[in-house]
Every structure is written in C-alpha cells, then in structure tokens.
Symmetry: C2
Subunit: 127 residues, 2 copies
C-alpha cells in the first residue's frame, strides 16, 4: 500500500529542511535501507549507504537555506521543485532542482533522482 | 548519446503547446515508437499507441491554454512543471502537474510520467 499523501509530504518537508540545516544523519534517517540516489540524473546511481553519506557530507558544513516551491504527490511518489541557497565563503550559489522520490509504506525514501543541469547552478552574490 | 538540452527543450515546448492547442496527431508526433505514458503516476502504464491516443483524445476538443513554469533537463531526461487551463462549457479547471520525460537520441519522448493528485485539479471559474 502506498503511504498517504500527508506522510509523503512530511518526508519531503523534512528532507528540504535537513538538506539545508541538518546533518548527514538527519538526511539519512529519511531514507529507507537499500535506497538509491541519482543526482543529477544521468550520473552514476549511488546504491550504498556509504556513497549516499559521501554525497550529502559535502553539504553539511555549508551555511544554507532552502525553500519548497512546488510539491506534487502521486501514489508512492513525489516530484518537487525546491530552491537551495548555499554560501561558500563570501560567495552565494543557488540551484533549484526538481527532485523525484519514491517512498516505502512508512514514508521513507527508497529512491531519489534529481533533475538539474550544471548551468542551473548560478552565483547570486560574491566575487 | 543523449540528445542536447536544446533538442529536449524544443520537444518539451512543443509538447506543452500541443497539449493545449494541438491535435492528438500533433502530440503523438512527439513520441517515439514504443513509448509509454503513466498519467498520473500510480495508474496503469499505457504501452500501446492506441491507448496513448485514447488518453490525449479527451483533451483535443477542449478550449485550453498552457504555460511552462519550470523545466529542468538532465542527460536524456526532463522534469517540468506546467499549468494547463481547460474549459468545459462554462467551467474552467486548472491543473499544474510535474511531468518527467525520457527522450531518444532524436529528442522524441520515450516515456512520460505525470505527478499530480486529483486534489491538484481545481475549478477556477464557473458554477
């Protein structure tokens, strides 16, 4: 049975919050065991917890903010558009991908695929 | 080899235009042979041209407008958010799904999956 839309939405909200302000552990707690991450789509799919941790570890030390712009839920899946603003020293970068996730019955993420291209990452302030 | 982002974007633009104002043939011309359609995600996947034609035939007679809101392209795939406004007699309905498509080397659609829920379809005018 698919999780309810409320449960899916709660995970999406928690994910966007954790990507911006949480630790790698906060993010990983939202994933089911055996989950996969493909970010961006077309790159190698991360299939181990170690490789998924490595992916999010890059974000953990950054000063970030995030905002969920749109979220569409269908069955055990969600597609959502969000904005992530990251500070690297004096420079601020912004990217607004569309992520697609699938969820298990408990609303944990079983797969994540992020749609964005390098040119979608824009510098919004700094040198 | 993945089609270029320009080629993918051209198909997405043509799709949004054809869904609003085109014929079923206009839409089908954007699909590759053997393409699949799952709209919304979680419903039965349409795997024959006949069943895909049947799906779009419902839209053909309607007075509609559409607007592409966001389009993210990654490799041979795109995720895009668009608004479709449809008139049924005196009533106007609006839905803004996120569609995810995959493309062949020539930029023709090989799969389409639409993320939206029945509650995303809202009546914006009429009785």
């Amino acid at each position: 049975m698919a999780p309810s839309a409320d449960v899916v939405r709660k995970t999406v909200d928690a994910y966007v919050e954790a990507v911006a302000h949480g630790t790698v552990d906060d993010i990983l707690a939202l994933y089911a065991e055996g989950a996969t991450v493909e970010d961006p789509v077309g790159t190698e799919v991360r299939v181990t917890e170690e490789s998924i941790r490595e992916f999010y570890a890059v974000l953990e030390p950054l000063e970030q903010s995030a905002e969920l712009l749109t979220c569409k839920i269908a069955s055990n899946s969600a597609a959502f558009h969000f904005r992530l603003v990251s500070k690297f020293g004096e420079n601020t970068f912004e990217v607004s991908p569309i992520d697609v996730m699938e969820f298990d019955d408990d609303g944990r993420i079983t797969s994540m695929r992020a749609y964005w291209a390098p040119e979608d990452l824009v510098q919004t302030s700094g040198n």
